[in-house]
């Protein structure tokens, strides 16, 4: 059992390395990262200098919006490209399990999101030089929340990449799913009362806002982990269906 886990971890790492390598072999990763940094930087400075807020709220508020484009762009090729170039056949006839492949690819996407978030630390450092009354706890949980939201979006994105053989379709589909998650909390007003609770519980914002306030509640964590797991399991299922077509 433990041996098996070790083997699986090694397999996941092999896929992870290959994906990270191919991210940085293609311009897509660099372009999306630079755009991410430019936009987040602009929003940080505008709220920092204009509104004179000495926290990262401006930044934290805009990042989920940037995610709408950033994350589907990262995940669109993960599986769709392997299908369109035929390398899928190579990949799945290696002695790796489908779930190991999906996990490795997912973690590679997540780490790219992590890199993007890490760069925004520059703004945080600026803040520590000039700001007063910095709420370190809120900043830490803010980042954690953003990583979890990124995790949900990336899981949705890799699922979309698995259902189609076309990267553009994967991007659009990914954008739509992520957009629905993104909007749910914002349209709550239009939702009939008896459903509002459910919709609110499914919406990402609701859980994110809890965490960003500095409260790490296990209910919120369970929500994020569940949604991520559901999308990843669906992705593995979609890969298995390929065999039966």
């Amino acid at each position: 059992m433990r041996d098996q886990l070790q083997i699986s971890a090694r397999h996941v790492a092999i896929i992870f390395r290959k994906e990270v390598g191919s991210f940085f072999n293609s311009p897509v990763a660099y372009i999306t990262l630079v755009v991410f940094l430019l936009i987040s930087g602009w929003f940080f400075s505008s709220s920092f200098f204009l509104i004179n807020e000495s926290d990262l709220r401006g930044l934290f508020n805009i990042i989920p919006t940037i995610y709408l484009f950033f994350i589907p762009a990262i995940t669109m090729g993960l599986i769709a490209r392997e299908k369109s170039t035929g390398t899928m056949e190579l990949l799945v006839t290696l002695p790796l399990e489908d779930w190991e492949v999906v996990t490795g690819k997912y973690l590679a996407a997540l780490s790219l999101i992590g890199v993007g978030l890490l760069y925004t630390f520059v703004h945080f450092i600026t803040l520590t030089f000039v700001g007063t009354n910095i709420d370190l706890g809120a900043i830490f949980t803010g980042y954690l929340g953003l990583l979890l939201v990124g995790g949900v979006y990336a899981a949705a994105g890799i699922f979309c990449s698995a259902v189609t053989g076309n990267q553009i379709t994967a991007f659009i589909l990914g954008f739509l799913i992520v957009f629905v998650f993104f909007m749910m909390d914002k349209v709550l007003f239009f939702i009939p009362g008896f459903m509002a609770g459910t919709v609110q519980y499914i919406s990402v914002d609701y859980h994110l806002s809890n965490i960003s306030r500095g409260v790490i509640d296990s209910r919120n964590l369970i929500y994020f982990i569940t949604v991520i797991a559901v999308f990843l399991i669906l992705t593995v299922r979609v890969l298995e269906i390929r065999k039966w077509r």
């Binding site: 035929g86 190579l90 399990e97």
Partner: protein, 315 residues
């Protein structure tokens, strides 16, 4: 031993293969032959677990591939049709990737790399992205990837497609060499290729096995036609017609050349040799025989008769 039992595969409503049955013995090179669309790729994809059959099963050493999938994949080296590779990766990285997925690292990888560099001749392109390589070198890299773990079973889908004649000769020699120790399946739609490499062949047509055996075995059961070409002088109209009357099994076609020379094309079922009688008849009719040549029914004729649609455009 690989046992393919009753494989049937439908893509939606399209039946790609139907009740395909054959066996590959250890250390044998099996040629998997068939025209385009016969179902070769589909069958190989099922054996390598890329696809699942609609019904039927494949056993490798009595283990069902559906149940022991990963374990059996570890023992197979597979070169898919069209040799898909990650084009932005250098050959070296590809080999590292394939090897590590098969738990070959460190010193064992160095040894394995030395081995495939030798057999597949990829040393000089090791550090170039495979997308920039010529087709022949890409094929070698694909083969090196399929062989990095020294698999006991090697499955190659049209390994020589798109190569130049020199490269084809090289790859055939390589496969023959590999076949001394490994169990090999190669698919091809070219008969000569299979004949040159394989110990035995399975011929597939429209998704069904139409022949299975060695060249000799296949020819033994085949009633083809032998052809005899005669060039004779002084052959009268009557004497040529008389030939067909004397030997009803012979089909005669004649053609007048200049200077009283005629060319006769005779066709009769294989399995008998009529040259002596025909020569006797020529002497009897005072023909001057200038040339007599025979063409035996060959494997090509068998292949054509098995795979060409009756009454179709190609017949």
């Amino acid at each position: 031993m690989i046992r393919v039992e009753n494989l049937t595969k439908y893509y939606g409503d399209v039946c790609a293969i139907k009740e395909v049955d054959f066996t590959v013995h250890d250390g044998e090179i099996l040629g998997f032959l068939g025209p385009n669309g016969a179902g070769k790729t589909t069958t190989l994809r099922i054996i390598t677990t890329y696809l699942a059959p609609t019904s039927g099963a494949v056993y490798i050493d009595d283990l069902d591939i559906a149940e022991h999938s990963a374990e059996l994949r570890a023992r197979i080296g597979y070169l898919p049709e069209l040799n898909p590779l990650y084009s932005e990766m250098p050959a070296y990285d590809l080999l590292v990737f394939a090897a590590s997925a098969r738990a070959i690292t460190g010193r064992r990888f160095k040894e394995a790399l030395g081995g495939v560099m030798e057999t597949c001749g990829v040393r000089e392109v090791l550090h170039r992205p495979v997308g920039e390589l010529s087709k022949g070198y890409r094929q070698r890299v694909g083969l090196a990837m399929a062989m990095i773990h020294d698999p006991e079973i090697l499955i190659m889908d049209e390994p020589s497609a798109g190569l130049d004649p020199n490269q084809i000769a090289e790859i055939r020699a390589l496969i023959k060499e590999l076949g001394k120790e490994k169990t090999v399946i190669i698919s091809s739609h070219i008969l000569q290729e299979v004949q040159a490499m394989a110990d035995r062949m399975v011929i597939l047509n429209k998704g069904q096995v139409v022949a299975d055996g060695t060249t000799t075995e296949l020819m033994a059961g085949f009633q083809g036609k032998a052809q005899l070409t005669l060039e004779v002088k002084n052959a009268t109209e009557d004497s040529v017609q008389g030939l067909a009357v004397r030997f009803p099994e012979i089909r005669v076609q004649d053609q007048k050349l200049q200077d009283g020379v005629s060319r006769l094309e005779l066709e009769y079922p294989t399995g008998q040799d009529l040259r002596e009688q025909i020569f006797g008849y020529a002497v009897e009719s005072s023909w001057v025989v200038l040339e007599m040549s025979r063409r035996q029914a060959r494997l090509e004729d068998l292949f054509r008769s098995l795979t060409v649609e009756e009454g179709g455009a190609l017949a």
